[in-house]
């Protein structure tokens, strides 16, 4: 279930849009924040409050990659392996994450600290390779630099 503050927030979100369905995307983000991922219960909660049928809500949610449909680690590492990043060694970085933190692409580290998502281009081709950790942006990555960055995320 949503916390009382989240419920209130959701009602405020709802009022910004002409109809309930239009409010689905921010509502699902809110649910993801509250539940950690979009579980069936999260969809039911959103559907219950917005009055949008749950099958429709799930259809919308599963369209977008940034909604997570399985439990995630405490921090989400999103690494780009598209052309520029790949040329500048992103795949080496994938191996590094695997060896150092036990992070498989699409998986979660055994300690639940990180989840790794492989991204398609985050618009940093000039400063590749690049990644996002939660909402923070990092570029010109090296193995050492990654190690330093991840140190800050517990």
């Amino acid at each position: 279930m949503f916390s009382e503050t989240a419920k209130k927030e959701l009602e405020e979100i709802r009022l910004k849009y002409p109809n309930a369905r239009a409010a689905l995307l921010p509502a699902l983000y809110l649910a993801q924040r509250e539940f950690g991922w979009l579980s069936p219960e999260a969809y039911e909660a959103v559907s219950g409050i917005l009055g949008v049928p749950k099958a429709i809500a799930r259809g919308v949610g599963t369209f977008y990659a940034m909604y997570k449909h399985k439990p995630m680690g405490r921090n989400i590492v999103q690494l780009c392996t598209n052309v520029s990043c790949m040329i500048l060694g992103a795949e080496r970085l994938v191996d590094f994450l695997k060896n150092k933190y036990g992070l498989e692409p699409g998986g979660t580290s055994p300690d639940g600290r990180f989840s790794l998502v492989i991204m398609e281009c985050i618009g940093a081709c000039g400063t590749a390779p690049a990644m996002l950790v939660n909402d923070d942006f990092f570029e010109n990555l090296t193995e050492k630099y990654i190690e330093e960055i991840l140190e800050k995320y517990k």
């Binding site: 969809y43 099958a55 919308v60 599963t62």
Partner: protein, 860 residues
């Protein structure tokens, strides 16, 4: 006038339509996949691409509107190439398993590939593998075959309004799934099956047992379940109904069906069907011959009539049987037996409510067209969930909401909860106060129209304040005012009344108040009807005080008319109502009963008492297709033919007379024929060669069906009262009995659940419906379940003064507090064995809302 040229052919159009429709009107076929006549346009499949001069790219014909001077080509080599490519893409992941796909032969993808090619695809990658989903009892999903045209999603959301399906994921991973990913857990209307162009969503009934081209016959007939009277097509092979489908263009349901109509037909082939007559010998029902059974019935009834008089015999007719069956039955009771003791379960609500309303507004005033609901600007629902009792009618209410109409409900209506209803939820036994509040607020706001003095005299003294009414519903006065404002501002309001109101204490007064609302807002009333021919049975005169054609028995001139037609005297004294019969049986004054196609021991409240009463009757004849609870008590059981095995007519709640046609054959006799045989054995002249001849007599004697013949009915427009004018508008004195008023004194009260998936004796023999909803449940509100410390699946003992049942709990957010909802649909677990009743003094309906209930958890 718009002129367009399609394939060199000039077409003139009155108004702008899509290119697809314009082409269709000129007989030019453009291939489609995602387009469907019943659904919103989508433009997703790209198969209807056409060339339009002066437009740079190919255009989708299904979404492009024609403009004057437009030149279109639908079949060129370039178009064929594109269509071939589109199909090649669709086949990337399609398994091409046509040899064992049930859809083969009527698959739109198969037909298109056959026409445009792309048989050998150029993709060498492995096809996506998705196991077929068989988790659901009724529907099977095969996502390898799916072409993601989203017809099912649009049907489910935009037409059915269940919104149980969605497109999950995206791109090449897109697929259709119900929320759970496995079971549909939906309304099981199966309308997704109807619109699926490929074999992706299919029915599991008779799976892999036929090919579409092997279906040897198709019979258009009427659904045997509720009073809406949907047309359905029974498709038959080897004399077995393999499939029931709707047809686009039929008057009531127009291409849609509900779960009962589509999946409920299997009872016809049930192994439990009675095959030969049974006679009780030494206390045991034994198989016998027709000759022996019929002559025994005739002999015994003759003896009892001679010894105890005609009025010691009573008959119960059936809202499941055809007009012809019911007509012959009442004629048998009146002519051969010589009594007006004939009634039916229509007495449990529909008959009395209709008589009451039509006494105020004129006969035929409750006969309103079902599709008309969608065009109302306000629909007020009171006394039940129309989407469960009369599902196809419920869809029209949903359509009304979708067209920006307002839905107002008295109480919570589960099936309309997604349609922003304005609800008034009166506390237990305080509905009257809420309705009175609405009446007086409307009267004060709009004034009295002045056209019905008798009604106005009665409603002048109603002075419940908005404050009191709002208080009874636990809402603020301003919310109550919103409700009233919506009603008073309505231009074309409709009021839908269900049995819950009729069967509640003070039911007739509540009906009066609803009639008053209807009068003040100038609306139309719809009465929900649970049985296929409830209306027809009343038209046929299966009531103790009415002759065929609704002619009151009390008037000598009407009696005379039928006496002339039937060449016999008709007793003047009205007969016993169904509840009067039960009382008379208990007292011992009723000696014999003839029950046709009804199961009073189960379908009447206080069913154990009814059972005891019928046991006291000296001679009980039951004519049915199953050995029902009632048949088990009988002295003679006569097996009848079911709805699909005979010919006849049903009259729906709109008073539309429709043809029931024989789809499969079976040895035996129709109900009317059995009765005619008994009558003949009692020296009455009942000579009919077929149902049509019975109908010919009906159309001769009944003013409602005057001059109608099967031929005319088959055109589908036989509906009365003609042109919406009431047949008779006798506003007689309106008698109303408010009753004493009930104060909630018990922690819980019994309420009846009328589920979408069941309707008693027939549906519980339909395997698919039983698979969907398989056993009786005790439904409790979330709060009550918590306070009792029970959760889903826990067993509780539900007891009233007269009995108790142990049932699993279902926690249901839609249930009101302080009530427990039980169904009367499962063998040995019927809610009616717990429900005492009193008869409403005006409508004659049983009042069953005062049954106090104790609930205790059964520890296992």
């Amino acid at each position: 006038m718009i002129k367009v040229t399609i394939n060199g052919k000039e077409i003139e159009l009155e108004k702008a339509v899509t290119v697809l429709e314009a082409a269709k009107s000129a007989g030019i076929k453009i291939p489609t996949l995602c387009w469907h006549q019943q659904l919103e346009k989508y433009g997703g499949c790209r198969l209807c691409l056409v060339e339009v001069e002066k437009m740079p790219r190919l255009q989708t014909a299904c979404t492009l509107m024609v403009t004057d001077g437009m030149v279109v080509r639908t079949e060129t080599e370039a178009i064929a190439n594109v269509r071939r490519s589109v199909l090649e893409f669709l086949l990337i992941n399609h398994p091409l398993d046509c040899p064992y796909c049930d859809k083969a032969g009527e698959c739109e993808l198969q037909d298109l590939v056959e026409k445009y090619g792309a048989r050998a695809g150029r993709f060498t990658e492995e096809k996506r593998k998705v196991p077929e989903s068989l988790e659901d009892p009724v529907l099977v999903r095969n996502m390898e075959r799916c072409v993601v045209c989203t017809r099912c999603v649009r049907m489910c959301e935009g037409v059915q309004g269940a919104a149980a399906l969605g497109v999950i994921s995206r791109g090449g991973h897109s697929h259709i799934e119900p929320f759970s990913g496995g079971k549909f857990e939906c309304e099981y209307c199966g309308n997704c099956v109807s619109v699926c162009p490929v074999g992706a969503i299919m029915s599991r009934l008779h799976r892999h047992s036929y090919r579409p081209w092997q279906l040897v016959s198709e019979t258009e007939t009427i659904c045997p379940y509720c009073g809406v009277g949907c047309t359905l097509v029974a498709q038959v092979r080897d004399d077995v109904i393999k499939r029931v489908v709707p047809r686009i263009g039929t008057p009531v349901n127009n291409g849609l069906l509900c779960s009962r109509g589509r999946f409920g037909y299997e009872f016809v082939g049930s192994k439990e069907r009675l095959t030969s007559p049974l006679i009780r010998k030494n206390g045991v029902l034994e198989e016998s011959t027709w000759e022996e059974a019929i002559s025994l019935v005739a002999k015994k009834l003759g003896e009892i009539k001679a010894k105890h008089g005609s009025d010691s015999i009573a008959g119960i007719a059936s809202p499941r049987c055809t007009n012809e069956d019911n007509y012959v039955f009442q004629k048998f009771m009146r002519v051969t037996i010589g009594t007006n003791n004939i009634d039916s379960t229509a007495r449990t609500g529909y008959a009395g409510a209709q008589a009451f309303i039509e006494n105020i507004f004129g006969q035929g005033s409750t006969a309103n067209l079902i599709p008309g609901l969608a065009n109302s600007d306000v629909v007020l629902v009171a006394g039940g969930d129309p989407t469960a009792v009369n599902p196809i009618l419920g869809l029209q209410i949903r359509a009304c909401a979708r067209r920006a109409g307002s839905i107002l409900t008295i109480g919570h209506v589960k099936g309309l909860r997604h349609y922003s209803p304005v609800e008034l939820r009166p506390a237990l036994f305080r509905e009257t106060l809420a309705l009175e509040g609405i009446v007086s607020a409307l009267r004060n706001k709009k004034g009295l129209p002045g056209s019905n003095q008798i009604l106005e005299a009665k409603l002048k003294d109603i002075n419940t304040t908005p404050q009191e009414a709002a208080g009874a519903c636990g809402v603020a006065e301003k919310d109550f005012a919103v409700f009233v404002d919506r009603l008073s501002g309505a231009a074309t309001p409709a009021i839908v009344i269900g049995k819950e109101i009729v069967q509640s204490s003070g039911g007739n007064y509540k009906l009066f108040l609803l009639a008053a609302i209807n009068y003040l807002v100038n609306g139309r009333i719809y009465l929900l009807s649970e049985r296929a021919n409830e209306q027809g049975l009343l038209d046929m005169g299966c009531a103790p005080d009415l002759l065929p054609g609704y002619r009151p028995l009390a008037y000598a001139e009407f009696r005379k008319r039928y006496e002339t037609a039937w060449k016999t005297a008709i007793p003047e004294r009205p007969g016993l109502s169904i509840f009067g019969m039960i009382d008379a049986a208990k007292q011992g004054s009723l000696k014999a009963m003839y029950v046709m196609g009804e199961n009073p021991v189960y379908n009447l409240p206080n069913s154990r008492d009814v059972e005891a009463a019928l046991q006291k009757v000296d001679f009980l004849v039951v004519q049915d297709i199953f050995l029902t609870e009632t048949a088990k008590l009988a002295d003679v059981v006569l097996p009848a033919l079911s709805w699909s095995e005979k010919s006849g007519t049903f009259t729906n709640m709109e008073r539309r007379i429709q043809r029931v046609r024989k789809a499969v054959s079976r040895e035996g006799m129709e109900d009317w024929r059995i009765i005619a045989e008994v009558a003949r054995n009692m020296a009455s002249k009942f000579h009919y060669t077929g149902a049509e001849e019975v109908f010919a007599e009906i159309s001769k004697v009944s003013p409602l069906y005057r001059d109608l013949a099967y031929e005319e009915i088959e055109k589908g427009q036989s509906i009365y009262p003609y042109k919406g004018e009431p047949l008779r508008s006798t506003v007689e004195e309106i008698s109303v009995d408010k009753g004493a008023g009930v104060v909630a004194a018990s922690r819980f009260y019994l309420r009846l659940e009328r589920p979408l998936f069941h309707s008693g004796t027939l549906s519980r023999k339909a395997a698919a419906l039983v698979n969907i909803y398989s056993g009786a449940l005790a439904r409790l509100s979330t709060a009550d379940a918590a306070s009792l410390g029970v959760k889903d699946g826990d067993v509780v003992r539900v007891s009233t003064k007269i009995g108790s049942l142990e049932l699993p709990v279902a926690v249901d957010g839609a249930v009101e507090q302080s009530v427990v909802m039980l169904t009367n649909n499962f063998e040995g677990k019927g809610a009616f064995c717990l429900a005492e009743y009193a008869v409403d003094p005006v409508t004659g309906a049983p009042v069953i809302d005062c049954n106090a209930v104790m609930i205790e958890k059964v520890e296992r």
